[in-house]
């Protein structure tokens, strides 16, 4: 258990965060951008659990933050998909470049 240094686990979560950032930068499709955001939120969750377990094992606050983040991510995904489906009805497309009426 403790034979893995904490920095190796943080390597995984940092890499996952930046993979999500890469997806957010390159994708132009709303659903795939939402998937990148899910990856980023997951990397944050890993960080919370690992810090809680390794650095403050007598407390539970990291676990609570993880649970709340998962809950809010579920609400956010539901809202985002409702908006995406509504956008598809009016624009016949879910590309971010096509939804620019509110840009200026």
């Amino acid at each position: 258990m403790s034979d893995i240094p904490i920095s190796h686990i943080l390597f995984v979560s940092t890499a996952l965060f930046f993979i999500g950032m890469y997806g957010l930068f390159t994708r132009r499709n709303l659903i795939t951008m939402l998937m990148s955001i899910e990856l980023i939120l997951n990397s944050v969750n890993i960080n919370f659990v690992v810090f809680n377990k390794y650095l403050y094992p007598e407390k539970l606050d990291g676990i609570f933050f993880t649970i709340f983040i998962i809950t809010i991510a579920a609400a956010e995904a539901a809202i985002a998909i409702a908006i995406i489906i509504n956008l598809y009805r009016s624009h016949r497309s879910i590309d971010v470049e096509d939804a620019s009426e509110m840009k200026y």
Binding site: I9, G20, T32, L39, V49, F64, E76, A78, I81
Partner: protein, 171 residues
Amino acid sequence: MTAAQIIFYILSAFILGTAILSVTTRKIFRSAIWLLFSLIGVAGLYFWLEVEFIAAVQIVVYVGGIVVLIIFSIFLTQQSGKEMAKASLVRTIASALAVVFGFAFTFLLIYDYGFEAGNKNFDWSVSKIGSQMMGTKEGGYALPFEVVSILLLAAMIGCIVIAMKSKPEEK
């Protein structure tokens, strides 16, 4: 190398590999399936960390809820076999460079800081989590719990209102 170490490195490679495939594949349905595998890998990492409760929540909410929702919305909005348009080369290179340098910088900071792990055992149990979640004393999470429950209700009503088809005016 012990078995725990080998399992950890296999899990990490699995998570990162499927995540990279998920953000780079051109077919949107495959992208959702790779995301599913990546989330299962993260749940496996929680099992490896011996926080089985979070792993179960991860599987139930993410794998069973969010990914299914995403796949449904793909079916509702796209032809799933069609390939997505390629990002322009300049954008790909620029974002890859930004991501690689950002990762190198962040990880260098983390590595230099050198977190000192204690030797104490992490003792959590579902009953401890539950009593602290509902606790109103110091360290209790009753207020955030109520706020999140109101947020979920608002999100649910908001989804229905947003996605509802507006009826054509009768007469």
